[in-house]
């Protein structure tokens, strides 16, 4: 967390802390509604619950301290910010790994598997999938993750800020792109 909160915002935070305002109650609802799913979605990207929860918390903190001007869609905003944080984290890790040993081997070491051979295979699969996602256009990669995490077309539309009617097309394209990239690396 940076310490560069503006004075104005800081006062707003202080004011909010004193008594649960209607705004704050709404915020609790937002947690109830979105916390678990946002964490699950981020887990898919980073593969670690602690990190996923930290990222989700960052997204909630951002929503709290700098709420979007257009407030009719806080859920969509939350996922959008959370996804950006998640993909940034994923890409940062990919950059680090590029200089390191084969990804699957590291993942294997990190996770202490019970069945080494099987675990190695799925660790490699995870790293492959993640590196493809990191390399894809952000919107396409996000679409895949959102859809695969069980969000409805309406919800996906709210996150991506597009019309619900275009979500099918986005998913279809993203899937095709993913598959092409996957086939290419094999």
């Amino acid at each position: 967390m940076t310490m560069t909160l503006s004075k104005k915002r800081n006062q707003a935070v202080q004011a909010k802390q004193k008594a649960p305002s209607p705004e704050q109650l709404v915020f609790e609802d937002l947690f109830q509604q979105h916390w678990s799913r946002l964490c699950g979605l981020l887990f898919r990207l980073v593969g670690d619950w602690d990190e996923a929860q930290d990222l989700a918390l960052d997204a909630f903190m951002k929503l709290y301290s700098q709420p979007p001007a257009d407030e009719h869609n806080p859920g969509g905003w939350l996922y959008r910010v959370g996804m950006n944080l998640g993909f940034n984290a994923l890409r940062a890790r990919q950059r680090r790994q590029r200089y390191e040993e084969k990804a699957g081997v590291q993942a294997l070491e990190a996770e202490h598997p019970s069945d080494p051979a099987e675990e190695l295979e799925s660790a490699q699969e995870r790293e492959q999938v993640r590196s493809i996602l990191a390399a894809m256009k952000p919107r396409e990669a996000q679409t895949l993750i959102l859809r695969h995490s069980g969000l409805s077309y309406a919800e996906i539309a709210a996150v991506l800020d597009v019309s619900p009617a275009s979500v099918g097309t986005l998913i279809a394209r993203a899937e095709r792109e993913f598959e092409q990239r996957y086939t290419r690396i094999l």
């Binding site: 310490m3 916390w35 619950w49 695969h148």
Partner: protein
């Protein structure tokens, strides 16, 4: 008309609106081509889905409950507030904290950081260093303050490891002779300024720090320097800072309350030399035997010297290059804000001093020099010629 790619995909997910769904169903009954496209699309989706399934959490794995997440956020918000308050306290009120402790920490940082082992005397006794020169390093105060402000361990280190002893109380004096006798130095005063409005001798003092390696490391971690590993031998080492008695003479429109007087000395001699904005039209002249610092010899801490500079806001390269050009054994490295002050070397009384001009508090300056083992600081309103005139009139 055939179904669009998006309609086919939405049809698969049962996400078509009722109207579109009816249309799609009717069309599919009569269109083998679109039937084939649906099948192909489904096959792609299934394959992609199988790959993405690798990322799913294992069964029974879940994040902490939403309530706990919300509680965490509230805790973070509270911490943020506290940090800001702490930082504010650190920046503004040395009133509540013994000024010696602050000075001690800076001196300790310097010892552990600034004095290169080359100069450490290879004896089994304490090495002694004495301030003979001042060197200014420009820092970005925001960086420094953020890092320092967010160090939760610094307070702990201060309270547990640092012991401060002060020998007596400040004493008002009426003449240079009386001051000289009390302070044990030959006191000089500006010739043309008349009698000082306030003339006081501050008692000598000692700050002793017993190094607790774990705490120091924790502070370094807070400062973002986990890469620095201190030698284990440092643990338990005793670092002692001797601050001799000092003589403070104030001229002009000065605040004479206790706080200002008590703070005058350490402020002028310590890291943040300049606080002239507090004493708006006041000129302060301070003199004391150079403070000295003793520490166990042979501490190989040059790497932390660079870290110290980096903590102050330098890049690694800048720190390394700065470190090469300093005689660390005798130099007190004083940080000043990069955008709030300018500095230059000047000749004072036959030695090289450092002149600092503050940009934010209309024409305030600080002039610091060391001659014959005495540290002088002069601060007040005006520019470099005003400062040098005054310094030149000392008798």
């Amino acid at each position: 008309m055939h179904l669009s790619e998006g309609e086919i995909r939405a049809y698969q997910d049962q996400e078509l609106s009722p109207d579109l769904l009816r249309h799609a169903q009717a069309h599919l009954e009569t269109c083998p081509r679109c039937q084939a496209r649906v099948a192909a699309s489904q096959a792609v989706s299934q394959r992609v889905s199988a790959h993405l399934a690798a990322l799913e959490p294992a069964p029974f794995q879940a994040p902490i409950p939403a309530k706990a997440g919300h509680a965490r956020m509230k805790a973070q918000l509270t911490n943020l507030e506290k940090e800001k308050q702490n930082m504010w306290q650190k920046l503004t009120s040395r009133i509540s904290r013994p000024v010696w402790a602050t000075l001690a920490v800076i001196a300790i940082l310097m010892v552990s950081l600034a004095f290169a082992p080359v100069r450490a005397i290879a004896s089994s006794f304490l090495s002694m260093f004495r301030v003979e020169q001042i060197k200014v390093v420009q820092v970005n105060p925001a960086d420094f303050q953020n890092k320092l402000g967010s160090s939760s361990q610094l307070e702990d280190m201060l309270s547990k490891s640092v012991q401060v002893d002060k020998n007596g109380e400040p004493k008002d004096v009426t003449s240079a002779a009386e001051a000289s006798q009390l302070a044990g130095i030959s006191v000089v005063l500006p010739a043309d300024s008349g009698a000082p409005q306030k003339f006081v001798v501050q008692p000598s003092g000692t700050a002793t720090m017993t190094v607790d390696l774990k705490l120091v490391q924790a502070v370094l971690t807070d400062l973002g320097r986990t890469d620095i590993k201190l030698p284990a031998a440092l643990d338990g080492a005793v670092v002692k800072v001797e601050i001799p008695a000092s003589v403070v003479a104030m001229y002009g429109d000065c605040q004479f309350d206790k706080t200002a007087a008590a703070q005058a000395v350490p402020e002028k001699g310590s890291s943040d030399l300049p606080r002239p904005d507090r004493l708006s039209n006041c000129t302060t002249f301070m003199q004391m035997s150079s403070p000295s610092v003793s520490a166990p010899p042979g501490l190989d801490l040059s790497q932390i010297g660079e870290a110290y500079l980096q903590v102050l806001g330098m890049t690694a390269d800048e720190a390394a290059s700065f470190a090469r050009n300093v005689d660390w054994a005798t130099t007190f490295v004083v940080p000043i804000p990069r955008d709030g002050a300018q500095y230059q070397d000047v000749q004072v009384d036959g030695v090289t001093g450092t002149f600092i001009q503050f940009l934010r508090s209309q024409h305030k300056y600080a002039l610091v020099w060391v001659k014959d083992g005495i540290l002088y600081t002069l601060s007040g309103p005006g520019d470099v010629s005003a400062a040098l005139n005054l310094a030149g009139s000392l008798k």
